[in-house]
């Protein structure tokens, strides 16, 4: 169409006054239609519900590579907020004392944190609202963590830790190992994991979290999943943390009743937490920043 008009231009030069404006207006009209169509496309896209939060959008790559919930690197997120608390426990990143309460941090504190663990840590990923990285899956144990390539369906946790740096690394293992006949093997493998993490993340503060309690009814069933066994394992974990100069956080006060058990209403199976209790766990972490 355009070429035809161009070719005819000399011939129709005598009618220029009439034809040229018409051609010009037609061209403007076509441009306007394209502009309108573009506007419609833009409006449709902007008005449709958002698929991801801005934080997730910023870290879309990480989301698509199984690195957990979104990861937003914030330069001001790594400092614990309470100076006095730091003075109490912080001489070296290797402080081994049980973490003490401090002024609450906010979610940004955890943006450069990595949580490693089993189904309970996976639950934390689902319901915490934290923009952290989670290397967690159901049934992960201190043994299979070395071999299970579940991160991005191709990497083990240790391989994944070689791909990026974290300021804080929170560990929780134990509920799947509580029935092992030799608890010292559990500790031995835990130590091996921590040493391997230290080699890959020398600047990260590492925190061993205690094994969360189970409900009284679950504890009373007569198998290995009982709170006495969990307390015994937690003592060993605390000693291990001291030996390895990493931090230890006892989470029992965050989620337990007066008897030290997980309240019955906090869990459908006596082991995994309800949303409310996953959030209590997060709130406790916020008031116990690493040193």
């Amino acid at each position: 169409m355009m070429s035809i008009n161009r070719n005819r231009r000399p011939v129709r030069s005598h009618t220029r006054r009439k034809s040229k404006p018409m051609l010009l207006y037609a061209a403007i009209g076509i441009i306007l239609i394209f502009v309108a169509a573009s506007l419609v496309a833009i409006l449709n896209k902007n008005l449709s519900p958002k698929r991801v939060s801005p934080e997730a959008a910023d870290s879309g790559q990480s989301l698509s590579t199984s690195e957990g919930v979104s990861q937003e690197t914030s330069s001001e997120s790594s400092a614990p907020t309470d100076e006095s608390s730091q003075d109490e426990t912080n001489t070296e990143p290797s402080s081994t004392e049980t973490l003490k309460p401090a002024a609450p941090t906010d979610n940004s504190y955890f943006s450069d944190a990595c949580f490693i663990g089993d189904s309970r840590t996976e639950g934390l990923m689902l319901y915490s609202g934290l923009d952290s990285t989670f290397y967690a899956t159901k049934g992960l144990s201190i043994s299979t963590v070395f071999t299970n390539a579940f991160v991005d369906q191709s990497m083990t946790v240790l391989q994944a830790l070689e791909t990026r740096k974290f300021s804080k690394i929170y560990l929780m293992f134990g509920i799947n190992e509580i029935g092992w006949p030799y608890p010292e093997v559990f500790i031995q493998k835990y130590e091996e994991l921590i040493n391997q993490i230290k080699a890959r993340q020398p600047d990260a503060a590492i925190c061993v979290q205690s094994i969360l309690p189970v409900t009284s009814s679950r504890s009373d069933r007569g198998d290995a999943f009982n709170n006495k066994n969990i307390i015994d394992h937690n003592k060993m974990l605390k000693d291990m943390a001291q030996r390895l100069s990493v931090q230890y956080l006892d989470l029992t006060p965050a989620v337990s009743d007066e008897a030290g058990a997980l309240p019955e209403e906090a869990s459908s199976d006596g082991i995994h937490l309800s949303v409310t209790y996953y959030q209590k766990w997060v709130e406790y972490l916020k008031t116990h920043p690493l040193t």
């Binding site: 207006y25 403007i28 009209g29 306007l32 239609i33 309108a36 169509a37 506007l39 419609v40 449709n44 449709s48 519900p49 958002k50 698929r51 991801v52 939060s53 934080e55 997730a56 959008a57 879309g60 989301l63 698509s64 199984s66 957990g68 919930v69 979104s70 189904s119 309970r120 996976e122 639950g123 990923m125 689902l126 319901y127 609202g129 899956t137 159901k138 049934g139 869990s267 459908s268 199976d269 082991i271 995994h272 937490l273 309800s274 949303v275």
Partner: protein, 159 residues
């Protein structure tokens, strides 16, 4: 001249309206609220575990969605004790429906792998999940009551 521009503006407006209309009628399927359907499934089916809605970025992680695939979504997860799950997705366009169904299949496969040596009894639910596709909508429900789930889903799409 003014008349011409008035005509041109009117024409552009018509084009705008027509184009908008085209995009709305792309699917030819009844528009539903994904959050309403997911909520009703969570409330009307008897789940063994307590079900809670999860945030959108977590959904994207679980289902490995990239931008431009899902227009709207509502997903409920269990506490981790069971494989029970509700997921209602509206595709961004009809072309993305297949991407979503593949993601749902992959999620089921991943859950089977996770529960196989963890809580094997959950495999019963995962072997026969309800997966319904209606126009641009894809619905997944993993529960012990597939009949009820289908009934609720159908009630949303039947006019």
């Amino acid at each position: 001249m003014k008349k011409f521009f008035l005509s041109l503006s009117a024409f552009s407006l018509c084009a705008l309206v027509l184009l908008t209309g085209c995009s709305e009628k792309e699917t030819g399927t009844k528009d539903i609220s994904v959050s309403d359907l997911a909520k009703e499934l969570s409330e009307q089916i008897t789940f063994e575990d307590s079900m809670s809605i999860i945030e959108q970025d977590v959904v994207s992680y679980l289902y490995q969605f990239e931008d431009g695939v899902v227009a709207d979504q509502a997903v409920y997860e269990s506490t981790g004790a069971t494989a029970e799950e509700i997921a209602v997705f509206k595709a961004d366009s009809s072309k993305q429906v297949e991407t979503i169904t593949k993601a749902v299949d992959a999620r089921i496969a991943s859950q089977k792998q996770a529960f196989e040596n963890y809580v094997p009894k959950e495999l019963t639910k995962l072997e026969d999940p309800v997966i319904e596709v209606n126009g641009n909508y894809v619905v997944l429900c993993v529960s012990n009551d597939n009949t009820k789930a289908k009934e609720i889903i159908d009630s949303y799409f039947q006019s």
